[in-house]
């Protein structure tokens, strides 16, 4: 991932390089053309001077050698030149001094000297285009470096100063926790876009908080409203049970109705609990001795484990004390242990271990690992067990979260292991 500023910097730089790359040959071509035009003009001027002056008409054949020896760039040659005449062409000539060939603009034309045909040559040395290119590239390169440095500098300032409110907003959003229910207070900004962003996020969060609040309220109200009809059903069943002429079949149906009602009651109760847990900040914390809490509830679990003939082993290494809400902690522990009983196999076993900062409940059960990511979600039970409300682990997770514990699941050597770390 790259910063937005870095990304735009890359595009700016690419554009700068492209522009300079295109401009350099163009610049070179134009410069050269202007230069050649200049040189050509000079040649034509010299030709005109030479012809108008007319000195050459007084020359004799013998003088030509002297003329050519003293005149460097205007020479009178015998009529043996094959190059095109009357127009300016480009040619190279050997330079003795520099020991290299150098480019020249040359004009040949036919004249008559001393009654004989001769060729007039007017030439001008061109500055080597290699040098020209080098100078242009040097200037271009300097401009490129200055441009790039400028881009980096400006971008740094932009990302540091202009984007500051944006980064602050991002941080606020990242820190936002729906369950805490606190609306973040964005610092004011003078940038129109960021101000709009802040306002929109503010609105979005506000709506979310309201929706979340409504959902909680709805769950609480719905569960609450269900209590009374449930009470009616339960009481009618109790009355029905008093019927002296109950047949075995009727009793069986009645038992099933009792079971279903009791399950309904438990689901409802757990939903209510889950919704209420949100108001954690108002609950009391106290110092808890975990060993004594576990020992208080163990007899109940032994009773529950009776049917499957489970062995429950305890391994309390350390009398851990933690500062937390007693009721909630009991629910957390009870849920885990009941789960271990409920999803166990006949003659299976459960091990409850307590170390300085961990409570571990391990149990035998199905030989396949459970889906860890679904496990703690509402109503996402792995097995269709009639007794389970599908909320136990969701409640445990919520309690753990609220109290700053972590709860984890692992599957090792055919054991399902739930770990609470304080």
């Amino acid at each position: 991932m790259r910063k937005l500023a870095t990304k735009s910097l890359i595009y700016y730089s690419l554009f700068a390089i492209l522009m300079l790359g295109l401009a350099t040959p163009l610049f070179f071509w134009i410069t050269q053309k202007l230069y050649l035009d200049d040189v050509d003009e000079a040649i034509l001027l010299r030709q005109e001077e030479f012809l108008t002056d007319g000195t050459y008409t007084r020359l004799e054949d013998e003088d030509l050698q002297k003329w050519n020896a003293f005149s460097r760039d205007i020479k009178i040659l015998p009529d043996t030149v094959k190059a095109a005449k009357g127009k300016i062409i480009q040619q190279v000539f050997y330079d003795k001094l520099a020991d290299e060939f150098e480019p020249y603009r040359v004009l040949y034309r036919e004249i008559t000297v001393d009654g004989n045909k001769a060729n007039l040559m007017i030439r001008i040395n061109l500055v080597e285009s290699k040098d020209l290119i080098q100078s242009i590239l040097f200037i271009d390169g300097s401009i490129l470096i200055i441009l790039l440095l400028g881009f980096v500098l400006v971008t740094k300032v932009i990302s540091d100063r202009l984007w500051k409110p944006f980064n602050q907003t991002l941080e606020y959003i990242a820190k936002f926790n729906l369950e805490k229910g606190e609306q973040p207070d964005f610092p004011p900004t003078t940038t129109l876009e960021f101000d709009r962003l802040n306002n929109s996020v503010d609105k979005l969060i506000g709506q979310n908080l309201k929706a979340f609040e409504r959902e909680k309220e709805f769950t609480q109200n719905a569960s609450h409203e269900l209590q009374t009809p449930l009470a009616v059903i339960q009481s009618k069943l109790d009355i029905f049970l008093q019927n002296k002429n109950l047949t075995k079949e009727q009793a069986h149906i009645l038992q099933q109705l009792y079971d279903a009602t009791s399950r309904l009651y438990r689901i409802n109760k757990n939903l209510l609990l889950l919704a209420r847990l949100e108001n954690f900040k108002f609950t009391q914390r106290e110092k808890l001795h975990l060993v004594s809490i576990l020992q208080d509830v163990l007899p109940y679990f032994h009773e529950q484990a009776e049917k499957k003939k489970l062995t429950i082993d305890t391994n309390f290494e350390y009398d851990t004390t933690i500062q937390t809400n007693k009721g909630q902690f009991e629910i957390l522990v009870n849920n885990l242990i009941l789960n271990a009983i409920r999803h166990n196999i006949k003659l299976g076993h459960i091990t409850i271990s307590l170390t300085k900062n961990q409570l571990v409940v391990a149990n035998s059960g199905s030989t396949e690992a459970l889906e860890a990511d679904k496990l703690f979600k509402r109503f996402s039970r792995s097995t269709e067990l009639a007794e389970s409300s599908g909320l136990g682990l969701a409640i445990s997770k919520k309690i753990a979260d609220l109290n700053g514990f972590t709860i984890g699941y692992s599957f090792l050597k055919n054991e399902h292991i739930f770990t609470i770390t304080f």
Partner: protein, 224 residues
Amino acid sequence: MKILIIEDEKFLAESITAYLSQEGYLCENVNTYSEGLSKTFDYNYDCILLDLMLPGGNGLDLLEAFKRENNSNGVIIISAKDRVEDKIKGLQLGADDYLSKPFHLSELSARIYSLMRRKNFENTNIIQFNELQIDLMAKSVSVNKKYVKITKKEYRLLLFLIGNKNRTVSKGSIAEHLSGDMADMLDNHDFVYAHINNLKKRLSHAGCEDYIKSIYGMGYKWEL
């Protein structure tokens, strides 16, 4: 004994009346706050069953009103509000007990029974059934005047059955009664059978007649 039921849910009030009448209680039913208020001012009841969310007012205000009148009758709150805070508030205002909905009628009956025993027999609180004697103060049981050793849970089970005598109590209601705060979580009620069996054995060993009848394994009845 007279019981006033202040409960706006008619079907529930009917069930309660039907169940408690079998025990010989005289039940009266009112559905609103104002009716409840006037009844308690005009008549005397041994026990009042009070719902909290009533048409026309809050049950807690009603409770305060008749506690101001220095009424010595017992009050049991029956409410869908089941938070600890609600319970504490109700009990602080002078209620004798708090039962959250939904509840088993057998549980309600057992609570009324023990409340009535507490109110009416403060010094010598002894229940006598033929050869069986239960001392509520000492929490002990004897058969033919001979002490019977009994566990805490068996004692509670015995009182629960006696509080619902001649009526069938479901296995679930017994399980809940014996599990206390844990009741909401426990889904396997099979352990009730073991406790019933143990209680039966202890009593019959001591020479007590078997008053506990099983109803198809789904419920039990203390039959006299």
